[in-house]
């Protein structure tokens, strides 16, 4: 299995303070990678740099063998990278169905889309995604009326509708109840294998349920990487991340 995403010396600095500091990271195709680290470690910034939301100070983002550093957001998305935001972002005035239809981007040209009256999505895929995120009963609802958890699932569904080769998920379970978190981990486990995912999470129970490999970020640098057991027992991780208490209590 090849490397799909590679970060080479990726750097983002404000003045002289580097929030992402010569970060080197590789993600294999089909892998489910968890990215963890204390608040302010630079996880969201890393995702912003990969997706072109912020300009890099230095280094490169290589996706599928090509350098995508400095491309505009929508061009990066068209290369096949989907992104779920830390603060859930859906279109509140549109219905759940319309949200998913907008996400189904077969042709990004405005004039072509003026001729698209029957905003059909790929029916089989649409049903599959609706089933996966479990919002079948809510398709006619305005997205603004969804609960917090449902909003998160809708956004996940929207990202999946794009059918990206790489999915970046920033804290998909933030603010979810225990049941909702469990359901989300089931969703992720169903995606495993057919999709490449990079998931930022604080919830260690969740990370334990889904992760193949965990990368620990600290002060913009890669501190450790490995399986849950390896990372948990790493003394450096114990020290910076959790004091002496151990990783599993950090939720």
């Amino acid at each position: 299995m090849g490397i799909i995403l590679e970060l080479k010396d990726l750097t983002k600095a404000y003045d002289t303070y580097a929030v992402v500091d010569h970060l080197n990271l590789q993600v294999n195709e089909g892998e489910l990678r968890c990215l963890i680290g204390p608040n302010g470690a630079g996880k969201t910034t890393t995702m912003d740099l990969i997706t072109g939301r912020q300009k890099t100070t230095g280094g490169q983002v290589i996706f599928d063998g090509r350098n995508i550093t400095g491309l505009k957001e929508h061009m990066i998305v068209r290369r096949g990278i989907g992104r779920k935001f830390q603060v859930p972002a859906v279109f509140k005035d549109l219905t759940v169905r319309e949200n998913l239809e907008v996400a189904f981007n077969r042709n990004p040209d405005p004039f072509a889309n003026m001729l698209m009256m029957f905003r059909r999505t790929d029916k089989a895929r649409f049903d599959e995604i609706v089933d996966l995120i479990g919002l079948g009963e809510r398709l006619g609802e305005r997205a603004g009326y969804l609960s917090h958890g449902e909003t998160q699932w809708l956004e996940i569904g929207m990202v999946l509708t794009q059918n990206p080769r790489l999915l970046l998920m920033d804290e998909p379970t933030a603010g979810m109840t225990e049941q909702e978190t469990h359901k989300t981990s089931q969703i992720f486990n169903r995606l495993r294998g057919s999709h490449t995912l990079v998931v930022v999470e604080h919830d260690m129970t969740f990370v334990r349920e889904i992760a193949d490999v965990i990368s620990v970020l600290h002060m913009g640098k890669l501190l450790a990487q490995g399986t849950m057991a390896e990372v948990e027992n790493d003394p450096k991780v114990r020290e910076v991340y959790l004091g002496a208490e151990g990783i599993s209590d950090a939720t």
């Binding site: 859906v90 009256m117 398709l139 929207m158």
Partner: protein, 369 residues
């Protein structure tokens, strides 16, 4: 009331019927009898309604608060004024009289294309479209939004206003251009006081309304509305938000240009007032009062508010002066009490009528029961 389905307001058939009823009603006005001068006034209301539709598209659906819809309107009006003026001039007397008073001895180059009516009309639509395209690209590539767009468009409007005032030899300055004859095309003269003029204005309004309605129901319309909600999310679905914004901005400009053309046909007059700031703000007020998320509401509000203004002005000068206060009061009341305008209030009321039919957008179909 958190269901979009099950409300007659969202029923697509009901919506089209409402539009057909509205235009049908407006169309029979000359038949049931109206004085020629009234017809001319009513034709003017159709122009205001076009402007309200233009604002509704750009601001209500596109989320772009443009205070510069007077730009395409005014530029098109000037092109139309020049076209009609040149219809009056002859090869023996090629120079309009206001230019002679400004001591021009030759017809300026920019005026020459207007010798040909068809080129004049093409310019009346083409010039504003080009300017709005360039202006739109500059603003939306730079990701300007909200108050910044409002300020930029306003500044631009003022620049054009000053140009119209100052380039006196070309624009007749503050006096404006008043072509002596009615517009003529295909051998037909369109008398501003005739039912033909009225129906023409109403016809153009109908065309721009249905074109807009169609566009909103297409996938393009959904993406534009999604950009209004959350531009970043749309970008991260792989669309160029700037591109979509430019297209909807230019489309709104095209509607305003048509309004400018029709207005000059009705008035046989164009002056810098077309480019005045308050006028462009009134357009926004009409759309806001009607409900900026409703083309129907915008049309009705533009007609009713302008009708009220005319009627009050007829009573006495005091009422005429009081109009601005009244309009301001209505605007504030709507903003505070009915943020979705009269159409929003109507949507709410009609939602109480039990209705189980299909919704306007396939997406808004009531799913469970």
């Amino acid at each position: 009331m958190n269901r979009t389905g099950g409300n007659l307001y969202h029923n697509s058939t009901a919506q089209w019927l409402a539009y057909i009823a509205l235009f049908g009603l407006l169309a029979i006005i000359p038949v049931v009898g109206a004085e020629p001068f009234q017809l001319r006034t009513f034709a003017g209301y159709a122009v205001f309604a076009m402007l309200a539709v233009s604002v509704s598209m750009v601001w209500g659906f596109g989320g772009i608060l443009s205070l510069g819809q007077g730009i395409p309107y005014g530029l098109a009006a000037y092109c139309m004024g020049a076209t009609m003026q040149m219809q009056f001039q002859t090869p023996d007397e090629p120079i309009p009289s206001f230019m002679l008073t400004n001591e021009l001895e030759e017809l300026p180059g920019v005026w020459k294309p207007f010798w040909h009516t068809h080129i004049g009309l093409i310019l009346a639509l083409g010039v504003p479209t080009l300017i709005m395209t360039v202006f739109g690209i500059l603003m939306f590539q730079a990701r300007l939004a909200g108050a910044f767009v409002a300020i930029m468009t306003l500044a631009m409007l003022n620049a054009f206003y000053s140009m119209a005032q100052d380039l006196q030899p070309f624009t007749a300055g503050f006096n404006g251009i008043s072509p002596p004859n009615a517009f003529k095309a295909f051998g037909v003269e369109v008398d501003p006081y005739s039912p033909m003029m009225y129906w023409l204005a109403l016809g153009v309004l109908a065309v721009v309304t249905f074109a807009s309605k169609y566009m909103l129901q297409s996938k393009f319309g959904t993406i534009v509305q999604a950009s209004r909600d959350d531009a970043e999310r749309v970008r991260f679905l792989g669309y160029s938000v700037a591109y979509y914004q430019v297209v909807v901005f230019v489309f709104g400009g095209l509607i305003a240009s048509l309004a400018g053309i029709v207005w000059v046909m009705i008035q046989q007059y164009v002056s810098p007032t077309a480019l005045e700031t308050p006028f462009s703000i009134y357009m926004v007020v009409w759309a806001a009062v009607g409900g900026r998320h409703s083309l129907f509401g915008a049309i009705v509000a533009a007609i009713v508010l302008n009708y009220l203004q005319t009627e009050l002005a007829d009573i006495s000068e005091t009422w005429q002066k009081a109009w601005l206060l009244i309009l301001g009061g209505i605007f504030v009341a709507v903003v505070l009490l009915l943020p979705r305008g009269l159409a929003g209030a109507f949507e709410y009321l009609i939602g109480w009528i039990p209705f189980g039919g299909r919704s306007a957008k396939p997406a808004a179909r009531p799913e469970a029961g």
